[in-house]
């Protein structure tokens, strides 16, 4: 396996983790968030600062990183309690822009120079790079997926589903909208924080522009394309959107156009996602099974 494909694979795994986090918020709890990259960035910056300026190791910094992102997620999840859908959508975009400009213009965060010299992750005395980093990311992705899976099987998860489907009905079943929306926000943003921490130690150099709104759109597209609310959807979405640009690579000049056009076509003709209800994949699958759908 070449370093090139390892790099692509690692980035896909990291983005899949972040997409899983967004899926918890959007897919499981039904709350719109268009600024997820902000939390990806918060995680990356937190880990970068803790391991460079703070002198911690990746492993001792990680719980703090998750705590910080989860806490900020909780704080920024508060608007979801009182804002209507469209307002919430735009507010989350705004949060993304604001967080990025804080990174960019506050000297504490390295300003426009970003943060460099982020140490490698050390595991069992071994500096993690190349294949091991891919395996580590895949491991974290597996843990993330496991948590997602456990979450969907927990009462909290069920409560979130109920909220997503019908908030009024859910609250009349004893589900507190405040509590579980915020639970989803904390969980989802902590996952983004995990992805961010991995990203920082993989790239070993981060700057604010990595976490701008286009990244949020990319992550949301992964979730929507893969199939919102499904366990594997975000992973599939990350795979498709991670590999497509590489497939188009030889077409240099036309690559981004084709990518955008494909995204448009996919959302136009499979708005429910590749693994969602009534998707081509599901239909084919059920046809193959031959059973009634």
């Amino acid at each position: 396996m070449s370093e090139y494909s390892i790099t692509i694979g690692t980035l896909i795994a990291i983005q899949a983790i972040v997409a899983c986090g967004l899926n918890v918020i959007v897919g499981y709890a039904g709350q719109i968030s268009l600024g997820h990259a902000a939390f990806f960035g918060i995680g990356a910056y937190a880990s970068a600062l803790l391991t460079t300026a703070g002198g911690l190791s990746f492993w001792s910094a990680l719980p703090i990183v998750l705590g910080i992102t989860g806490l900020i997620g909780l704080f920024l999840g508060l608007p979801s309690l009182r804002l209507r859908e469209d307002f919430l959508a735009i507010t989350t975009i705004g949060i993304n822009f604001i967080v990025v400009s804080v990174f960019q213009y506050v000297p504490f965060f390295g300003g426009a120079l970003g943060i460099g010299g982020i140490p490698r992750i050390v595991l069992f005395g071994e500096r993690i790079r190349g294949v091991s980093f891919l395996l580590l990311s895949a491991g974290f992705l597996a843990i993330t997926l496991l948590i997602c899976w456990l979450f969907t099987r927990s009462w909290s998860g069920l409560a979130c589903f109920a909220l997503r489907e019908d908030e009024t009905a859910a609250s009349s079943m004893g589900v507190s909208p405040v509590r579980f929306k915020l639970t989803a926000f904390i969980l989802g943003t902590a996952m983004a924080g995990l992805g961010g921490a991995l990203y920082a130690h993989f790239m070993r150099f981060i700057s604010a522009t990595d976490f701008g709104f286009p990244m949020s759109v990319m992550i949301l597209s992964m979730v929507v394309l893969g199939g919102m609310g499904t366990l594997w959807g975000p992973v599939l979405g990350a795979l498709v959107l991670g590999i497509l640009p590489e497939v188009f690579r030889p077409l240099t000049d036309y690559r981004m156009f084709l990518y955008a056009a494909l995204l448009l076509l996919m959302i136009r003709f499979q708005p429910g996602g590749l693994l969602g209800e009534n998707s081509l994949a599901r239909q084919t699958l059920s046809r193959l099974k031959g059973g009634k759908s």
């Binding site: 009182r82 804002l83 735009i90 507010t91 822009f97 759109v217 990518y259 955008a260 448009l264 136009r268």
Partner: protein
């Protein structure tokens, strides 16, 4: 005092430019409840088409007319083939479609016209003034006159014509409007076309004002205008105009006096969140 006045004049001009771009978005949101991010792409295309026609004919009037027609068509196509089929899905689906549209059109512009910044060397036939030591350049005069003209025209259309009445009725209650004989499909398309035509003018104006036209010129307006329509009250056109001008002035004064090197987009969103906390329906929003 002179400095302050200069800052104000400049801020209002910037606000007027914002308003021209935001208008179309507010119109579209009012009628379809869609966050039409791709509006910024229409604006970019407007600048390019305007420049192309201008280079060929050296007539700014022809250039504006051509760009307006072209963009109206583009707006119509986006509405018909992207938004209309996606209306029944949750709002993030058309939003992603819209963003994909924006990217695709930006790339098309780059492929068609090259990645370089093109200059838009048109001279607008407007005079410049010097009043009490304050210079009002001809471009500034042009921005004032044209945006005032466009706003007045739009105001006239929406409040004084049957079409405008139908647009407003459709945005308030589409079903009842259609039961009054209004073809709401057509009205929606017309709304898109009008908004897109205004975006074309904005594109040309910005192109001339900064003398540059380039593929990603819509990137910043695309999202900033979202903040502006929220501040104005989602769907409220006068609100959007007011918010744009306030932001233009506010930004200018803040930068001029406080010297904060915050990017303007973040400033717009901070203002938006402040407004949401204080008045969740926006400055001139109707429904709370």
């Amino acid at each position: 005092m002179q400095l302050f006045l200069e800052q104000m004049l400049n801020g209002i001009a910037i606000g007027a430019i914002y308003a021209m771009i935001t208008l179309g978005l507010a119109l579209v949101y009012g009628i379809l409840r869609i966050l039409h991010v791709a509006h910024a792409a229409v604006y970019t295309v407007g600048a390019y088409i305007g420049l192309a026609i201008f280079s060929a004919t050296h007539s700014i009037l022809l250039s504006a007319a051509g760009a307006m027609v072209f963009c109206a068509g583009l707006g119509f196509l986006i509405e018909r083939f992207v938004y209309f089929p996606l209306l029944k899905y949750p709002p993030y689906v058309p939003l992603i479609g819209s963003i994909a549209c924006l990217l695709a059109i930006e790339e098309l512009c780059r492929l068609a016209a090259g990645p370089y910044i093109l200059s838009f060397p048109a001279q607008l036939p407007f005079p410049s003034f010097t009043v009490g030591g304050i210079v009002i350049s001809s471009t500034l005069t042009a921005v004032y006159c044209i945006s005032a003209g466009v706003l007045a025209l739009l105001w006239f259309i929406t409040t004084r014509t049957e079409l405008g009445l139908a647009m407003r009725a459709t945005s308030q209650d589409m079903a009842i409007a259609s039961s009054m004989g209004i073809n709401s499909h057509r009205i929606i398309s017309l709304t898109f076309m009008i908004g897109s035509a205004v975006a074309a003018i904005a594109g040309i104006l910005v192109g001339i004002y900064y003398n540059q036209v380039y593929p990603s010129m819509g990137a910043v307006p695309a999202y900033k205008t979202l903040a502006l329509i929220v501040v104005g009250g989602l769907g409220s056109v006068p609100g959007a105009v007011l918010a744009s001008i306030l932001l233009g002035v506010g930004e200018t004064l803040l930068i001029g006096y406080a010297g904060i090197p915050l990017p303007r987009d973040a400033l717009a969103f901070i203002a938006m969140i402040a407004v949401l906390l204080w008045r969740p329906q926006g400055l001139l929003g109707g429904r709370g």
